[in-house]
Symmetry: C2
Subunit: 150 residues, 2 copies
């Protein structure tokens, strides 16, 4: 199996596969006589595993750790739970700030009175007002939040 087929089979871009190899997630593959990478079912499964974890938005570092657990089935399972729990709380925190963000944007959007020019634009007005520290449609009062990232 060449890299293109592997990519097709797993839904991972070829460049990304090579990137994963460089990043140490995928062990260096064997090579054909012409230097092309050569893969078997083991690597396919491993890459699918990685892709699946990425779909769960895990970091490559976390995925590496999970792969280690797969390799050493005697290891303590509690660490896996912990890893997943962390992931969940990260996602929840992000979700919370995203919801607040959506609300803010929606309020801001509603400020548009369809004025023709920017000078009369409610949106712009509010953003500028916010810059002055005044209350605006999207932010109640003065905000000092650093909530966005996490």
């Amino acid at each position: 199996m060449r890299i293109g087929e592997l990519g097709q089979a797993t839904g991972v871009d070829v460049e990304t596969v090579r990137y994963y190899e460089k990043a140490g997630l995928l062990p260096p593959s064997g090579r054909q006589a012409n230097g092309y990478r050569s893969y078997g079912p083991v690597q396919l499964e491993r890459l699918s595993f990685i892709r699946h974890c990425r779909a769960l938005d895990m970091t490559l570092a976390d995925i590496k750790r999970l792969l280690n657990f797969v390799a050493r089935p005697k290891a303590n399972c509690g660490d896996i739970d912990h890893l997943i729990d962390d992931q969940i709380s990260r996602v929840r925190a992000r979700l919370k700030s995203m919801r607040a963000l959506e609300k803010q944007l929606t309020k801001l959007r509603a400020r548009c009175r369809a004025g023709r020019v920017a000078a009369e634009c409610g949106i712009l007005h509010d953003l500028v007002a916010a810059a002055h520290g005044e209350a605006c449609a999207c932010h109640g009062g003065r905000s000092k939040n650093k909530s966005r990232g996490e």
Copy 2:
């Protein structure tokens, strides 16, 4: 006003202020005799505006465009609406995939049967099963989504 005070007043890190200048969001400030950057109320407002927009998760490119609208109050306001609409739909799309993600992770977490070793770990089992393309707790069937980023 020196850069440190400006940073304090706006809640923006000093390094970030310099970065914004380099990135062209803040015009190069005046300088004191010793070479220190010197700011007045105009720049303070501009930086507050930027910070506020960043809190709404806008890209620096979009913020630049908004700043242009602020500078040219005769411009057509429709473009602003469009920009905000785009932002909203980006946030909503992200929100949607985040919600799905949370569900998946929660299901996955529930698979833990508190087995002591990784070999019996329901989470790991499911992730490996997913790699095989089988159904698993967190993903119904085979997924091919690229939904995560956008």
